[in-house]
Symmetry: D2
Subunit: 156 residues, 4 copies
């Protein structure tokens, strides 16, 4: 790791709340062992949707404003930050520095990002996006990257 | 509420980590609705045991030393504090100020304390307590009391 | 201490940020030893005024609304909570659970509350209160009370 | 800023405790305006020494062990991390991610690092280092670098 990476690693270890770290790690161990990844993703997405219903609802007239509004929500919760990038095949949601890895561990990266998927899907739906558009995670997540990417667009 | 109670309520609202509050509330809503209380208690106790395996192990030659050692662990995690009280019918574990209510809500008090039950049971077992002794929660938990009591002793 | 008081004491020890506790204690030791209390109060009130200029400005059409708005600011910062009580000889600002004692220590209670004095004075002034009205601390502060009282009214 | 730098910036803004941010910024504004930098550095170094007297004392039989022990202290306080680098002209103390900039601001970087200087000097002295060796900051601190470097060795 070079200096910048070591520094990021320091902050990532600081990020996850000491209060709930042990519980969330136990949750990941227990559920990760007993429930198939596909079902875990469905469960996590449902928890994400339920979280979103009780979180502030972001808003904005442009993609840039929306990104800023979303980042206000994430910063308040210390859940990292997002870049929204428009491309030909959809809107890419690039979420950096989510506390998911610190909380649930490296192995859980196969399913823990579905929490974010549930939250973003709820937000786009509540903003009136067409139901023909879907949010899907762009694989894979690299443990070192602290970056999770979703594509919001028509099914491929 | 008198002044002291209002003050306690203030701190109790501050206590639960902002980072995970929304997730834990969603967890409580989803699981509390779909899984019977008895099964939820079993699940929570298992998560507690799993947490304890990755937490520091308290120790002490006397009940007072043990209580102090346990309280060091809880203080570090901001999980409240405990009084250990010896009575005729067992050792009473009086846990104050657990963040369970702030995290999982009032209704979940029917099952969320089983996390603590799992942790304490693991500790007593690891200290070599006889398997004839059991840890059971002394009902009921009053939402305003911020107090959860367990009895460790022979089955009644 | 009875149970409620022990519980409050637990939370009070949790309240002061670990990150700055050592610095603020050193500040209190150094300044408390070298600067007379009267001058320290002037300095602290000036720091409070300066803080208030960069904090959200509370507002409200009634005393109750104002108290609620102020409490939103304090809760966000984890600086405790306030009751505003109208009496014949002025408006009493009863500030509970300020982190001053945890940060600066018991001895510093002779001067640390002047930070709050500077903040409240700035707010009342910015709201257009007559300059004939003054904010003064009602003595004494008891270390165990976690309560600091100011009177806002005409000079006695 | 590239991605890594944006991520570091995010964490740096999260790092400074919300509870004391406003006070420390007011402190920096008031003192920075009224006291010459040289005197401020002396004051800050004295506060650092006083902090160190109430902090855990690091230890180690090798430079690597010492660095690890120091980093345990800093991690617990969320004060960043250190690399200790031996060179021909002394031991270089490279402190990354101190919360000083977030707390006191960019301008205060001319004097706020003297807190660290006071702490490290106290530690080296308490470990029995020769009084012929001095700790001096290697200038300058770049606001974007989140890196503060000291040299511990004979006066140049």
């Amino acid at each position: 790791m070079d200096k910048l990476e070591v520094n990021l690693d320091y902050f990532a270890r600081q990020q996850c709340s000491i209060q709930w770290g042990a519980f969330l790690a136990a949750f990941a161990g227990e559920f990760g062992e007993q429930i198939p990844v596909g079902e875990l993703r469905v469960l996590m997405a449902r928890l994400g949707k339920s979280m979103a219903e009780n979180m502030p609802m972001p808003a904005g007239n442009t993609i840039a404003e929306l990104a800023e509004s979303i980042n206000d929500v994430w910063f308040e919760m210390n859940w990292g930050r997002v870049d929204l990038v428009e491309k030909e095949d959809g809107l890419f949601v690039e979420h950096h520095l989510a506390p998911l890895q610190g909380a649930f561990g490296d192995e859980a990266l196969a399913w823990s990002p579905a929490i974010l998927e549930g939250i973003y899907a709820h937000w786009f739906s509540a903003m009136g996006a067409s139901s023909a558009l879907q949010l899907t995670q762009v694989e894979p997540v690299l443990p070192d990257s602290l970056l999770i990417v979703f594509r919001f667009g028509r099914a491929a």
